[in-house]
């Protein structure tokens, strides 16, 4: 929504944290950017692809995160500053390449931005990716607000180049998805030329600098780079202390948690007694700086998301302080003062600090608090659901019916995308497993090869079109090769919908909006020699019949492509609904119908509601998108669609 390419240094803009990261990369003169969509990282690349042409950079949505990082590294080797961005799951996909990259070093500045999701707001885990930096010896930067997100990104490129190693910028959802004031810096005006340099390793004259090999000396060189990073972090501009010279309590914090700590000190009016040491460079730990800060107080509280990462490093350091050092009592996740899971909220930090400082704290008037608690019982819960008009609703309805008719307790191996809601009411609770991208088909591989142990349950794996290209193809090939018996449903809605409708190799368009060869997934699957069917998810009966037929055939892997465009993409383009929907009150017999309210109790499209007063179904015209699917669900034919 913001214009990150604005050439107006010194002006202040309202940027999303992810836009600020993209701007920081531009200010660093980035020439190459690659990513795979994933909340909360997507907007970094959404922003960069939107300005790629104007700014003359290469920005791409790669097929997966490993390839994104590899492509960015290739550009760096050839002298172009490069960035790869991804969510926390993505860095795991990229990790095999990453550890080898730390062995070779880089060309021009190369950074990887990893956006973690404390609280798992849009994820199925809340991995703390900072641990990877310790594991792989990667210098780590952690911004604490929108302005820092921009400034640190720029600095990370310089640091990476000076140290000759990739650096990680670790963001979290409350950084990437917070808008804030950002003061712009200069955009560099330079012409960049790419050339792959033929340079050799300093200790092995026949080993290319860019080749990792069986040489522990490469590891030794990396250790030396880390020691150099530690030196630089001792005086990094992103580490600061605020508070009294000697503090009753020293809070050590980083990243998004910083603002919770500032809030707590302000709220409790403790700025004369409690100090905050904010660490923007948590790994390698700037030990001398930390030792200096530890002299301020005998009581320390660690506040960070998600793991006790800084907490462990600092305690390790403290264990090696001289014998005569004053004893410090440490509080944090290990002591139970800060939760060891979930997102941090200012409430948690305010209450913990109040507790440690023995100050009574009430967030609001006590009588009001009591009333609010009492009235909160009237607020209905709001479970996640598929959007009105979503093609996946048709797919899961057909799956549900087919599995019931088959009667052998079959089930769905779910995957990552909007259709992850297959485990919830909107997907009729059909998904029984869900893990990583492509894991639906991967897990189905094992389940489909258990017939020698008497396994007879039908196995249906689902994946989206983007997920198919990302990580499902190898699982499908494995299934065909190893004769596993499962049905793979590719829910092809022509977009990476969950993360913001990014294009993918099947759509015939690149991220930057240029046309590309559309990869024909149907032809690709057929070329593997597997049985392929193509269905419209809104043709419920046809889909059910095909699924039943395929389930009856135990002869290996099969593919069904469920093809219908995402309703949100369609509506945005066509700006009209296909049908005007209504429930004919003369035909709907409400509770008296033998269907037991199948339309609202089971089908559960948000556009179809229950009119309590009339005791009948009703279309909510502010929500319904006129897709017409519910017509097929009503046994009485009371739901009517009229072409617009």
């Amino acid at each position: 929504m913001a214009s990150i390419e604005l050439d107006a240094p010194g002006t202040t803009q309202l940027f999303l944290g992810n836009e600020a990261i993209a701007r920081g990369a531009l200010e660093a003169g980035v020439g190459f950017a690659a990513s795979y969509p994933g909340t909360p990282a997507s907007e970094i690349m959404d922003t960069l692809v939107s300005i790629a042409k104007d700014m003359d950079i290469h920005a791409e949505w790669s097929v997966n995160e490993k390839i994104a990082l590899e492509a960015a590294a290739g550009a760096s080797f050839a002298g172009i500053r490069a960035i790869a961005s991804m969510k926390q799951n993505g860095i795991n996909v990229a990790s095999d390449f990453l550890i080898n990259l730390t062995m070779t070093g880089i060309g021009k500045g190369l950074i990887v931005v990893v956006a973690d999701d404390p609280g798992a707001l849009s994820s199925s885990n809340e991995q703390d990716s900072r641990n990877i930096c310790k594991w792989m010896n990667i210098p780590l930067l952690e911004p604490s607000n929108t302005q820092e997100a921009k400034d640190m990104t720029k600095w990370a490129f310089e640091l990476s180049e000076e140290l000759d190693t990739i650096c990680m910028l670790r963001s979290v959802n409350r950084i990437g998805h917070t808008r804030g004031n950002v003061k712009l810096g200069e955009l560099p005006k330079m012409e960049q030329r790419a050339y792959f340099p033929h340079i050799w390793n300093m200790f092995a004259p026949t080993l290319s600098k860019f080749a990792a090999g069986p040489f522990p000396r490469l590891h030794k060189m990396l250790n030396e780079k880390l020691a150099e990073a530690q030196q630089r972090f001792e005086s990094a501009p992103f580490n600061w202390y605020q508070g009294p010279n000697k503090a009753e309590l020293l809070i050590i914090t980083s990243g998004a948690s910083t603002s919770c700590c500032i809030e707590a000190v302000k709220e409790l009016k403790l700025n004369n007694t409690v100090g905050i040491f904010k660490l923007g460079t948590p790994w390698p730990l700037p030990e001398n700086l930390v030792k200096k800060q530890l002299r301020r107080s005998k009581k320390v509280l660690f506040v960070e998301e998600v793991d006790p990462f800084i907490e462990r490093s600092v305690m390790e350091l403290a264990a090696n302080l001289p014998m005569n050092s004053p004893r410090i009592v440490f509080h944090g996740k290990r002591s139970g003062h800060i939760p060891s899971y979930g997102e941090l909220h200012p409430d948690i930090v305010i209450n913990t600090v109040a507790d440690l400082m023995a100050i009574p704290y009430h967030a609001r008037d006590i009588a009001y608090e009591k009333k609010a608690e009492e009235l909160s019982t009237h607020v209905p819960g709001r479970a996640l659901n598929l959007c009105p008009g979503c093609p996946h609703r048709g797919t899961f309805w057909a799956i549900k019916n087919a599995l019931q008719l088959d009667g052998r307790n079959g089930f769905v191996c779910g995957d990552i995308g909007c259709y992850a809601l297959g485990f919830a009411a909107g997907g009729y609770y059909q998904s029984r497993t869900m893990h990583a991208m492509g894991s639906g088909a991967g897990v189905a591989n094992g389940l489909g090869n258990l017939s020698q142990f008497g396994f007879e349950q039908p196995v249906i794996a689902v994946c989206g079109d983007s997920t198919f290209f990302h990580a499902t193809i190898p699982a499908l090939i494995n299934g065909i090769y190893n004769k596993s018996n499962f049905i793979l449903l590719i829910l092809d809605n022509s977009a990476t919908a969950m993360t913001g409708f990014q294009p993918h190799p099947g759509t015939g368009m690149t991220g930057a909006g240029e046309s590309a060869i559309p990869i024909d997934m149907e032809a690709l699957c057929r070329s593997l020699g597997v049985h392929v069917e193509v269905c419209d998810p809104f043709e419920l009966e046809n889909t059910t019949t095909i699924l039943l037929k395929l389930m009856a055939d135990a002869g290996g892997a099969k593919v069904v492509i469920m093809r219908r465009e995402c309703e949100m993409v369609r509506a945005k383009r066509e700006k009209r609904f296909p049908y005007v929907m209504y429930v004919d009150p003369d035909i709907c017999i409400g509770e008296a119908c033998g269907c037991n309210r199948v339309c609202t109790r089971v089908f559960q499209c948000p556009g179809l509601i229950w009119d309590k007063e009339e005791g009948k179904s009703k279309i909510d015209e502010a929500v319904c998108t006129g897709c017409g699917l519910c017509v097929e669900v009503c046994p009485e034919g009371a739901i009517v669609k009229k072409a617009t």
Binding site: L14, N145, A256, V379, R382, A622
Partner: protein, 203 residues
């Protein structure tokens, strides 16, 4: 440095995924930055969007960017696209001084449609909302939006009501260029929605 009558001023924009609360908080935030304020806006994204409760926290300050999460009990203004969400926000973030501006049109959660949970009547809901607010401005934003041709205009109508209420240091002149910039093709329709909201808030 800009002065505010309360520092920081905390606004919550709430609703259900798809109603446009991210856009609303962006437009309001942008107008405030143009007026020289420091603003932090925290939004709900991703999985939480799909039919779920969504809320943007907007924190306005004369001198610093606050963290984007408002502590419990610390909302100054709640602007809400959906009445059950209004009550949800009041229960967590309300206090005896909070100003509430709420739409009246329910969006029924699937558990209500399926018959597993009860959704209070709109009269009951408004009574509960009043019990937890210092001032309540009730806007039939979706009904008014239908009159303008599209229920989605409820969001800009509510921005109009917010500005009309005088709860923020913003006026029509500060919002108009923002609407123009963001809706170049549909500026007239959005301005009509904005004016309607201003008027409904008694302006």
């Amino acid at each position: 440095m800009k002065e505010l009558s309360k520092e920081p001023c905390n606004l919550i924009v709430s609703g259900v995924g798809g109603q446009g609360n991210v856009l609303m908080s962006f437009l309001i935030g942008k107008a405030l930055v143009n007026q020289g304020y420091f603003v932090s806006v925290g939004d709900t994204y991703g999985a939480s969007q799909r039919g779920g409760s969504v809320a943007s926290h907007v924190r306005i300050s004369g001198h610093t960017c606050y963290g984007s999460l408002i502590p419990s009990g610390h909302a100054d203004v709640i602007l809400s696209l959906e009445p059950a969400e209004t009550l949800r926000m009041l229960c967590q973030f309300g206090n005896p001084n909070v100003v509430t501006i709420t739409n009246t049109r329910p969006i029924y959660p699937s558990d209500v449609t399926s018959g597993h949970t009860i959704y209070p009547t709109i009269d009951e809901l408004l009574k509960l909302i009043e019990k937890l607010s210092a001032t309540v401005i009730v806007i039939e934003a979706t009904d008014e939006a239908f009159k303008l041709g599209n229920p989605i205009f409820a969001n800009v109508i509510l921005i109009g009501a917010l500005i009309g209420s005088g709860a923020l240091p913003l006026d029509k002149q500060s919002m108009e260029p923002i609407l123009k910039e963001n809706f170049p093709k549909e500026f007239d329709a959005n301005m009509a929605a904005f004016n309607k909201g201003m008027k409904l808030a008694g302006h």
